[in-house]
Structures are given as structure tokens and as C-alpha cells.
Amino acid sequence: MAASASHSDKNYLNESSGIWSWLTTLDHKRIGIMYFISVLTFFLVGGIFALLIRLELFSPGKGLFTPDQYNQVMTYHGAIMVFMVIIPGIPAILGNFFLPLQIGAKDVAFPRLNLASWYLLMLGASMAVATMFLNKVDTGWTFYTPYSIRSSGSVVLMVIAAFIMGMSSVLTGLNFIVTVHKLRAPGMTMFRIPLFVWALYSTAILQVLATPVLGITLLLLVAERVLGVGIFDPKMGGDPVLFQHFFWFYSHPAVYIMILPAMGVISEILTTFSRKTIFGYTAIAFSSLGIAAVSFFVWGHHMFVSGQSEIAGILFSFLTMLVGVPTAIKMFNWLATLYKGSIQFQSPMLFALGFLFLFAIGGVTGIMLATIGLDVHFHDTYFVVAHFHYVMVGGTLMAIMGGFYYWFPKMFGKMYSEAAARMSFVFIFIGFNVTFFPQFILGSMGMPRRYFDYIPAYTQLNRISTVGSWMIAVGFLIGLYTIIKGLRSGAPAPANPWGSKTLEWTVTSPPPHHNFDVEPIVTAGPYEYR
């Protein structure tokens, strides 16, 4: 530990040094940075798998891989991106770093638990990676029974890994809920917390309530493979469709665990760069809660053709339409926030506008998939693949990138190269549309997902899609370059480079070890641009 704490240049990055001071830190900001490094690594691995998938699909027939290898690559791409990148993504990196700062707290409620969450994620991730060197798993990230019971891969280890990463997610959520309830600064009422905090709070509720059901589902799958208990195995009188109910009871809310924090980031960026108060603060806050609540009622839309009953299917179709409403509210409110603003096109704003563009397409195609008669055709085709990539990549990943550029000066006290960041946006945005828009058409034509090979009629569009994936890769490489260059030689960042109004911008960049030297007293809302 550094002794000279009185030095005025001390901040959370240099208050102590050495790898051990990081691995044992209880500082939410340092834990956020540790999450950033680990998630970025996972993202690169998952991204390479994505490129390999597209490369195999460049032409019909056997290309790079054998069918089994393709199925493994597809499984690891999905599992890594879902469990190790997008779910921990925004909450664990940006949330950890900025949730306490935004509500004027000195730390999250349970700092030790926070560190434990990181170690759990690392433990789970290492187990998942270990399966790559044992018997590779080929079940898809959904582990549907009975295939996952019979598959020869190391499903047990993989599933326990997912269970442990789930625990990490639960503990993060639990920590955030208590932090928001108990640690707000004086005057920071629930309706003065920034919308990013509202989004994280809604996400945390989902993490706590949905993940345990995934936990028991995965444990039962382990029991199924080890003991052959038969609950999900038709050979023993069990029901594989019940597995899907249990699985999606978690995994549908998990979709909102992925997208809600992204929506929070967008609210922050849009207000800052149009220098205007958010339109309909309460509506956006409540629509976050509303999405969180309703998301528990709609899991069966993943199962329209799974053999669940017609009545259940129709009920789920109806309930799914209701989730569309709060999402539409958010979209319109963001649009209205731009109205009569003073809009500046720094790279975070470009990513936010890109988010609106892609999320609009992801949203309307979501309605198509919620329509039961239409989904029978689209289910498990590339239409679905395109839809959720528009939401998860076009939505969440754009928000991660935007949010990361937005808060980069605060996190590291340095500015990045604006030109390079804009360049990365252009490549990612165009490349993304080139990759995934053709997949909507492929899906309409009937190309099923998780296909190693396809009929020749699908060749042209698959080629376009593969070329697009290379553009995305270039975009992310430029992004990586921007970050590294900014870290090495960026100009020093002022406390508030964008002129934002939320609390994290009132402290120095990077923030001091204990966040606030004087406890802030809050007297107004978060977006008072008058």
C-alpha cells in the first residue's frame, strides 16, 4: 500500500501499485477495470469464433471444418458471447465503475462480494475454456435435452461453468440492488438517479430473480448426465419441453439483462451530446421496470413450435406484444430528446445514434417474431439469428462501445483519438448491416440456423454476410487501437470533457480512491441542462 495518500495527484489507479493490489482490491472502480480486461479478452475469443463461423459459411459444402468442429465453434461462440461477454458486459464493467459514482456513494454495498463475483466469473470462465481442451462441447449454448444428455462433449463441466458464472451474475445484481436502495447520497431521491442507474437497477432485479432458475435447470442437467434422473429425458418418462420452459424462464429475462443496461447508457449519451434534458424521465424509468417485470411472462415465445400447447403459445404471443410497448416508449422518448437539442457528433453520440438505427430494426423484427402465425415460419431460421444480432450486437455492443468512449476520459484520465474512434464506428456500423441484413432475407427464404452446410440457393447472401463480418473485425481492431493509443499517449482529460450533468463528472478524472472527498448533496435531477 502506498503511504503518501496525502499527495494531491493520487487517484484510484495509482493509490497503490503492483498486481497484488489489483487482485485483492475492494475498490469498485478497479474491479470494473478488471472486468473490462477479462471481458475484452473473452470478446476477442468469441469474435474469432464468429469470424470462423462466417468463413465456413462462405461457400456451401465442407470448408474449413468438419461438421463436428463447426458445431463446437458455434457452441463456443454462443456460450462465450452470452455468458462471458454480454451478460457481464455493461453491468459489471460500466455499472461497477459508475453506479456508485452516479448516486454519490463511496462504493457498492458489499465490496468483498463484488470482488468475489469477479473471481467467480474467472473460475467459471476457466472451466468453460478448459472444456475446449477436453471434450469440446457441441450442444449449442442452449443445452437442449435430450441431445445434451447424449452428447459426448464435456457438458457437465461446461454446465457447471455456466452455473458458477450465473452465481457471479446473481451476486452482482444483489449488490447493485442494495447499493441503489441504501447508499444514495443525501438528496438523491429515486427520481433523481440517472437513467443508467434505473436501467442497472431493473437489470439487477432480473439477475436476482431469473438466474436461480437457470441454476437449478443446469444442476438438473448435471444430475441427468451423472445420475440419469430422467426429468428431462423422454426415455424415462421425462419431458424435454419442460427443460425449455425452465431454460427460457431464465434466458428470456437474460435477453433484457443484456439490453436494459444498454438502454441506460444510451439515455446518458443522448442527453449529454444534445445538451438537453431527457424527454420523459419517469416514462423511461418505469418502462425499464416494466420491461423487467413483463419479461418474466413471455419466455414461451422461444417455444412456439416446440410442442408446447396451442393455448400456451397464443398466451405467450399476446404477452410478448405487451413488452413491445415499453420498448416503443423508450424509442420515441429518445427521439423526442433530440428535438430542439444542440447535437454534437462525438464518437459516443455516433454509437448512440447507431444504436437507435439498429435497435429500431431489431425491434420491428421482434414484433414479427412475436406474431405466432409468422414465427412458425421464421423460428430457428436465420431471421432469428439476424434479429437477435441486431438487438444484441447492434444494440448492446454499440452501447458498450459508445459508453466506453463516453466514460473513457473519466476511467483513465486520458482522451482518445476522436478520428480513430469515428473510423471504428463507420466500419462497425456498415459492416454490421452488411453482415446481418442479408441474414433477414436468408431467414425469410428458409435457411435454418446452426447449419454447417446449406443449399446452393443461399450462397450469394451468405457471401455478402461473410464479407461484412470482416468489416466488423476491422472496426473492432481500430477500436482496440484507439483504446491502446489513448491509454498510452492520450492527452490528459479534464474532469468534465463533455459538459455532462451527472455526479461522476464532478470528481477528478480519474476519480480519487474514495470517489468523493466531500459527500455530495443533491438538489436537482440528473439532466438539468437549462
Binding site: P100, A105, K106, D107, A109, F110, P111, L113, V170, L174, N175, I177, V178, H181, K182, L183, V208, L209, T211, P212, V213, G215, I216, T217, L219, L220, A223, E224, L227, G228, V229, G230, I231, D233, K235, M236, G237, G238, D239, L242, F246, H514
Partner: protein
């Protein structure tokens, strides 16, 4: 409002010890919700398959000895009682009595696990294994899928038993801390949390007993 006269130093990001206590307790409750939902998944599965195969479940329950379950229920309820008393005596600053009650709780946990062990070994002896390992010929099962019932039996009691063991470990931990004098009427968050966990374990058994042993 001050708590200076007590030794416990609260973490820097809380205003005072009470603030820390309330926050910790909320965290504990949130964790208990996850426990309820995790076990709940098993109960939902049980309820659904019970409605699909009522005779098979009845047959399965007949193989279980309700007297064992009954004794275990009483043991566990008693342990919940002593756990609650453990907290009660810490709240009243009567350390020796608190220690006695916590130790009694651990003892009850041991008795529960011993009875559970006897039950399991008896079942194994009869060939009543979970799922596909169940020996249909040896047990003379009427339903070929009786293993499914025993799948539920072993998963539910097994997960519950794991929680009993974890609970015993946690109580041992707070027992040692009590002996060390870490707790006082103003600060006993850990005991309260472990207590709530132990009661959850009891709560789940309260449902498991009639569902598995009686109704079947």
C-alpha cells in the same frame, strides 16, 4: 444514534453501524430469494410430474419410511428453534446461553444428516437408485419409470442435505466468532444472516417432508 461505545467498526462507505446492518440484511434477504427460486424449480418440476404420474409417485412414497422423515422434521424444527434462541441470547448479551444454543443447532444438524445417511444406505441396499440406475427387477417396481420419482427424491433431498451441511459450517463459523466475542446486541449481522439461512433450510424441509414421504 451513535454506536461508538461498541467495538464493531463499520465499513467506510456506510454512515453508521445501523446503516450497515440494514444494508446487509437486505442483501441477505435478496440471497434468500435466490434460494427459494432455485429450490422452487425442483418443486415446480415435482408438482408437474406428480400431476402426470400420480400412481407412480404414490408407489415411490410407499417405499419411503415416513417415520424417518417425521423424526427428521422434528429434529430440524427443534434446530430452528435453538437457532432463533441463539440470536435471542446474543440480542440480550447472554453469551454462554447463545453458545449453548448454537452448539445444539449444530448437533441437530448432525442428527439430521445421520438419519439421512441411514435412509440413503437403506435405499441403496434395496436398489432404489435415482433414474436409470434404479433396479426395477430387484425393487419389483410396478412403474418402469419409478426411477423418475427417485430422481426427484435424491435431487431434492440431496440439494437440501448440501444446504444443511453448508448451514452447519456457517453456524460453526458464527459460533467461533461468538466465542471470540465478536458479537454484541448492537452488532450480530452474521448470526442473523446465518439464522435466516438455517430457517430457509428448515422451511424447505417443511415442504419436502409431506410431499415426498406422505403424499407421494
Amino acid at each position: 444514534m451513535s454506536t461508538d461505545n461498541h467495538a464493531h467498526h463499520f465499513a467506510h462507505h456506510f454512515k453508521n453501524a445501523e446503516h450497515e446492518y440494514q444494508s446487509s440484511k437486505e442483501g441477505i434477504w435478496l440471497f434468500m430469494v435466490t434460494e427459494i427460486l432455485m429450490f422452487g424449480g425442483l418443486f415446480v418440476g415435482y408438482a408437474i410430474f406428480h400431476s402426470l404420474y400420480p400412481e407412480m409417485f404414490a408407489e415411490g412414497a410407499e417405499h419411503l419410511d415416513w417415520k424417518m422423515g417425521f423424526i427428521n422434521t422434528l429434529v430440524l424444527i427443534f434446530s430452528s428453534f435453538t437457532m432463533a434462541l441463539g440470536i435471542y441470547y446474543i440480542q440480550r448479551d447472554e453469551k454462554p446461553k447463545a453458545v449453548f444454543n448454537l452448539a445444539l443447532t449444530i448437533l441437530c444438524g448432525c442428527i439430521f444428516m445421520v438419519i439421512k445417511y441411514m435412509e440413503y444406505s437403506h435405499k441403496f441396499h434395496l436398489g432404489l437408485f435415482p433414474g436409470k440406475w434404479l433396479d426395477v427387477a430387484q425393487t419389483g417396481a410396478h412403474h418402469a419409470n419409478l426411477g423418475l420419482y427417485y430422481g426427484f427424491y435424491y435431487c431434492m433431498t440431496g440439494l437440501h442435505g448440501t444446504h444443511v451441511l453448508i448451514g452447519m459450517g456457517l453456524i460453526t463459523w458464527v459460533l467461533i466468532r461468538t466465542l471470540r466475542g465478536d458479537f454484541n446486541p448492537k452488532y450480530y449481522t452474521a448470526v442473523e444472516g446465518v439464522g435466516i439461512f438455517w430457517h430457509i433450510v428448515d422451511l424447505i424441509w417443511i415442504f419436502l417432508f409431506p410431499l415426498l414421504y406422505l403424499v407421494g
